[in-house]
Subunit: 174 residues, 2 copies
DNA sequence: ACCAATTTGTTATGTTATAACATCCTAATA
DNA sequence: TATTAGGATGTTATAACATAACAAATTGGT
């Protein structure tokens, strides 16, 4: 088995992905309908802005975008709680993930309730790959269980270099 | 092999551990001497305060303690950079770890350069167990490498219930 | 004692997140 | 269709976490 057989989980910071976004929003509509929760216009727009970011988005980046577009529409701006509440909803429903080591949010590539995701964060270009590898999840749960610890949620984040950046000899933190 | 054969990695939030602290400070002295870096009085005191906390300590908790004791000593107080710089030094030299999901710091149980640690965080009592399991580290590195990603640093944190709290039926977040 | 480098002090500010309460919207029902 | 109860959003204020920039003091080597 060659490495080429594996689909890359990376979402480069800059690429054309209107289609990804549309798919993600459609999936979100479906998932929320199934769960009986309301993906309101605001929540849907925040999800769209997260995806638009082509990478991890911080809460205040989203807030600024929201403010800008509301100002243009003659409405008043927006305040932090507006964004944080939408993010909380999206997190609770598995539509986005929070990357703890970046204080940032990213669209979930395979939304479904109660999965955590595992993230490969390039320290050079900032792109993020999402894994959801059951071997990793199970190994950690097993090791914890051996200590008598019952895992409810895993935070797995690896900082390093993506294939692209490793190839041209970048260093983490450049 | 029974579970009893495994030494618990848990450090309950409240227990008597003057000895642990002394050992940790001795180890820190030795490690810094070996590395040729200076564990100054301030840095050593901050390390001691982190250990005194009987669990994860936040930067401003440490700052408050430092202020209090300096006020008593007739000196002026302390400001955030004083604490953050000491924490940065201790992190850089592997004497403490930062727990990203708590924005908190905890003494490293087995200090040595360049290891990350893996944390089991009880969502009920707040106690934290530190693992440093090479199987977990290797599996994640291997899975990442299969995607062409070179891992430099891993953040592994599991929220759940410690043996004690699981036994009396607590829930995460209580 | 002098110097250069490191460490610490100090002021100000930037960044991330939530509490508390008011208002508005929406969907179910009478 | 008018009512209404719950959920969603608006709004103000503040809490919690962290760093930039520059000044002063300390330390170790000569």
């Amino acid at each position: 088995m060659t490495q080429d057989a594996v689909v890359s989980p990376f979402r480069p910071v800059r690429h054309e992905h209107d289609v990804c976004i549309d798919d993600a929003l459609d999936a979100a509509d479906a998932l929320c309908a199934k769960s009986g929760v309301r993906l309101t216009a605001l929540r849907r727009r925040v999800l769209e802005l997260v995806w638009d970011g082509h990478g991890p988005m911080r809460a205040y980046d989203i807030l600024d975008l929201l403010r800008d577009e509301r100002m243009r529409d003659q409405k008043r701006g927006a305040a932090p709680p507006t964004v944080y509440r939408a993010l909380d909803f999206l997190l609770a429903n598995g539509l986005i993930h929070r990357i703890e080591s970046l204080n940032a949010y990213i669209g979930c590539g395979a939304p479904s309730d109660g999965h955590a995701g595992q993230f490969l964060i390039c320290g050079d270009c900032g792109s993020v790959g999402e894994l959801d590898d059951p071997d990793i999840t199970r190994l950690i749960a097993a090791k914890a269980e051996a200590m008598g610890f019952a895992v409810a949620h895993q935070t797995i984040e690896a900082m390093g270099l993506c294939p692209e950046c490793a190839r041209h000899g970048a260093q983490v933190g450049d």
